[in-house]
């Protein structure tokens, strides 16, 4: 006697095909399928049309003390430059040579972003010198009036200011008034846009800076000198003892990219399993409500219907995910072929090694089958969407808990929780994938796969029985509750 049920491939294919086409012919499918392209096109149009979604705010300063306007403007310029340096410093991540990386960071700190760009152009041709400078949240303009009273029509939008020959609204006004101490002026920020307070925050920073200077200066010190000394402090370099010396044991992007990729893949896997299983549930429910199953069962085996549905919805899920998968593959392959940062290329190649691809396929199949079988069983017990929601809630909680495990792959890949999750079949597909870049012992992966396989077989067998019962009984959630009361609570009906 064979352990596996007999399957007629033609009938299984026909059931899978109907399920697949049943969804593919709906508007919902095509909207989901085309959504990434629609968003991509929208993004492209927005980028090429140069539409500013967050227009620059114009802010003016009324300084009744005559002491703070220049200092505030200077501070804002320094902050923008700091932001630019911060954005530029991410380039260090892609510089593999330790000496060059240190020199780049020194040049950036000492001479600014333009000098750092020149250094990259001249010394590190593999790394692109271009970077996205931070966007200024607001711009200072000269005050269109000399008093708050005269400014109010501008602030209320009744009058417009002129900026480079074009009319614009005045977004806000910072007003400094004399305080009891010259280093502690009264500051006010006037605006009708009370949720956008970047200028007010800048004014706060400026006031804190004044307080700092007023403390340091009497001691013969300056804040800028303190900042400079802090900036010149050496930085810790990251090393990984598992790397070979010849490889440079310093850690760079090529070492961290596999973790990021594994986390993204685990999320994609989770999303695929979740959406696939949920579609199986609705497909099963539709089948039950359509009342065709009994007719089909006169000519088709239970196992063929279950397998046909699993395959049909799997094909459907993959079709729906296809745009993302294709974009991902094209992106990765494109970058590996033409990418300028060799560290990223190296990281991507190492992220998509044979072990990752093999286990990703294994866990995709097993994870989908495990959750899919559960959802088929629960779908066959449901007689309405409310029933289905009630019955699937525990499984959804489990799935949500599994999603919470995935980020640990980045933040704590050695976490005992992640290791335990590897051996729990429900979370194994996701936990194992995020652990792969840490090179877990192969026996752990094999044991986890074995547990998952055993539970999959058990779940399919159980799902088959529940399916058979649920389809023919016209059961709803109440029958599960009745069973629970009768068998678990030992109550008489």
């Amino acid at each position: 006697m064979s352990l596996l049920p007999k399957i007629n491939l033609r009938r299984t294919f026909l059931i899978a095909r109907r399920d697949y086409l049943g969804y593919v012919k709906t508007w919902g499918f095509w909207i989901s399928f085309l959504l990434p392209f629609i968003f991509g096109a929208f993004g492209f149009i927005m980028a090429t049309a140069d539409i500013d979604l967050s227009p620059t705010q114009y802010v003016t300063v009324l300084d009744e003390t005559g002491q703070h306007q220049d200092g505030l403007a200077r501070m804002y310029e320094e902050m923008l430059e700091d932001s630019a340096r911060s954005a530029m410093s991410a380039k260090a991540f892609f510089i593999q040579d330790k000496m060059k990386r240190a020199e780049f960071q020194r040049v950036l700190r000492a001479d600014g972003t333009i000098a750092a760009q020149s250094y990259i152009k001249e010394n590190i041709p593999d790394v692109s010198p271009n970077y996205e400078p931070p966007v200024a949240e607001f711009k200072f303009i000269d005050a269109p009036a000399n008093s708050l009273k005269d400014l109010l029509p501008y602030l209320k939008g009744q009058s417009l200011i002129n900026v480079d020959g074009e009319e614009a609204a005045l977004g806000g006004a910072i007003i400094f008034k004399p305080g009891r101490d010259p280093s502690k002026p009264d500051a006010q920020y006037w605006t009708t846009n009370i949720n956008k307070v970047d200028a007010a925050n800048l004014a706060d920073d400026y006031l804190q800076h004044l307080a700092r200077e007023s403390y340091l200066n009497p001691k013969g010190l300056t804040g800028s000198e303190l900042d400079r000394l802090e900036a010149l402090a050496p930085e810790t370099t990251l090393y990984n003892p598992l790397k070979t010396v010849a490889d440079d044991q310093g850690v760079n992007s090529s070492d961290t990219i596999p973790f990021v990729v594994a986390t993204v893949l685990a999320f994609m896997l989770w999303l695929t399993v979740f959406s696939g299983a949920y579609m199986l549930l609705t497909s099963m429910l539709e089948e039950k409500l359509n009342k065709l199953l009994e007719m089909m069962l006169a000519t088709t085996r239970f196992s063929e219907i279950i397998l046909g549905k699993l395959l049909g919805v799997a094909a459907l899920t993959l079709s729906m995910m296809a745009p993302y998968i294709i974009v991902g593959i094209v992106g990765v392959v494109g970058y590996v072929a033409f990418g300028s940062d060799q560290a990223i290329v190296k990281g991507l190649i190492s992220a998509f090694d044979a072990k990752m691809i093999v286990f990703l396929i294994i866990y995709l199949i097993l994870g989908y089958v495990l959750y899919g079988a559960f959802f088929i069983a629960l779908g066959s017990l449901s007689s309405s969407m409310q029933d289905a929601q009630t019955l699937t809630t525990p499984i959804l909680f489990i799935l949500m808990a599994c999603a919470a495990v995935i980020p640990l792959g980045l933040s704590a890949p050695d976490s005992p929780l992640l290791r335990i999750a590897t051996f729990i079949p429900f979370s194994a597909p996701f936990a194992s994938i995020v652990r792969l870049p840490s090179d877990p012992p192969i026996w752990e992966l094999l044991l986890s796969t074995a547990f998952l396989t055993v539970l999959c077989i058990g779940t399919i067998a159980m799902a088959g029985r529940i399916f058979r019962f649920g389809v023919l009984s016209g059961a709803g959630a109440e029958i599960v509750i009745a069973w629970f009361k009768r068998v678990v609570l030992r109550r008489k009906a």
Partner: protein
């Protein structure tokens, strides 16, 4: 020739309560069998066991001489009591899909679907989505889907339920047409008229048990025979008294008699001639299957009628 269906002492319990008890019968090739009984009599459960959808607790089921399964796939056309179609499929897709599941290739399946829809007056609805069809049309489409592959054995569970009289008549025509091709049919119903008009043989179920199995004529013989008589002369009541199990007297003096077992309507006629009592009315009432059914199942009918509609066992 192997009997399409044979049940031997089949029983099934649900939640400890008997749904079918010790039922045995054989459906011979070419027969049209009416499977009758009130709601909850065990008809659907028996048919499901016949198809192997549920396993009996005891007894054996043979479909084409073997346990129900792969051997019977493609040889059976099954119309379940609970009906439906994929709402977004068209009528021809629905029929072709079932035909293909029953082994017919794609092109012939669609050709067959078109032909059947044309033949049974649904030619205009070929490309109509099932969700846009009336209930009667959808039910016809599902029946055509069940029989498109021209199976040897048709199992139809309550095929007439939910149909208006016109469509019931059309369905009767379809059943006759199937039977004319020497196909075997068993259909369950509690509308006696259909069984009376269509069946060679009747199996009556009540409370999970088979209470009658025989020809329609034999079933009718079980029904109480009745006769209506009237006379303008005195002495009619005394004349009929030896033959009557019960007598209802109408206001105009007419008597409706239910005859005693063994008594015949013509006995009354002979006695009236002998006694010179002229009858102004002599009307033997043709027994109906419904009356036979009520006689055979008695209290079970009333119990069955109390079962909520649509709940079958």
């Amino acid at each position: 020739m192997t009997a399409p269906l044979s049940l031997q002492s089949v029983s099934k319990l649900f939640g400890g309560k008997p749904a079918v008890s010790d039922v045995s019968f054989t459906v011979e090739p070419g027969q049209i069998v009416g499977f009758l009984g009130p709601n909850g009599a065990g008809k659907t459960t028996t048919l499901r066991m016949a198809l192997g959808l549920i396993k009996p607790d005891s007894g054996t089921v043979n479909l084409f001489g073997e346990s129900p399964g792969e051997n019977a796939f493609g040889r059976i056309g099954f119309l379940p009591e609970e009906r439906g179609l994929y709402k977004k499929q068209t009528a021809r897709e629905a029929i072709a899909h079932m035909a293909r599941l029953n082994g017919i290739q794609k092109k012939p399946a669609f050709a067959l679907a078109d032909e059947l829809l044309d033949r049974y007056g649904l030619g205009d609805a070929k490309r109509k989505k099932n969700k846009d069809m009336s209930k009667g049309m959808a039910q016809k489409v599902q029946l055509l889907a069940a029989i498109a592959h021209d199976p040897e054995f048709h199992i139809l569970d309550e095929p007439f339920s939910g149909l208006d009289p016109v469509n019931q008549h059309v369905l009767e025509g379809i059943v006759r047409e199937i039977a004319s091709r020497d196909r075997t049919i068993i259909f369950s119903t509690h509308v006696m008229e259909h069984a009376e008009r269509l069946c060679d043989r009747i199996i009556l179920m009540a409370s999970g048990r088979k209470v009658f199995d025989g020809t329609t004529e034999a079933a009718l013989a079980e029904a109480p025979r009745r006769v209506n008589v009237a006379s303008e002369m005195d002495g009619l009541a005394e004349l009929v008294e030896p033959f009557a199990a019960s007598v209802d007297t109408h206001p105009d003096g007419e008597l409706s008699l239910t005859l005693k077992p063994g008594a015949q309507a013509h006995d009354i006629l002979e006695r009236s001639v002998t006694q010179g009592l002229r009858l102004s009315k002599y009307e033997p009432i043709r027994p109906t299957l419904h009356e036979a059914f009520v006689t055979l199942v008695g209290d079970d009918v009333r119990q069955g009628m109390n079962t909520p509609e649509g709940h079958s066992t």
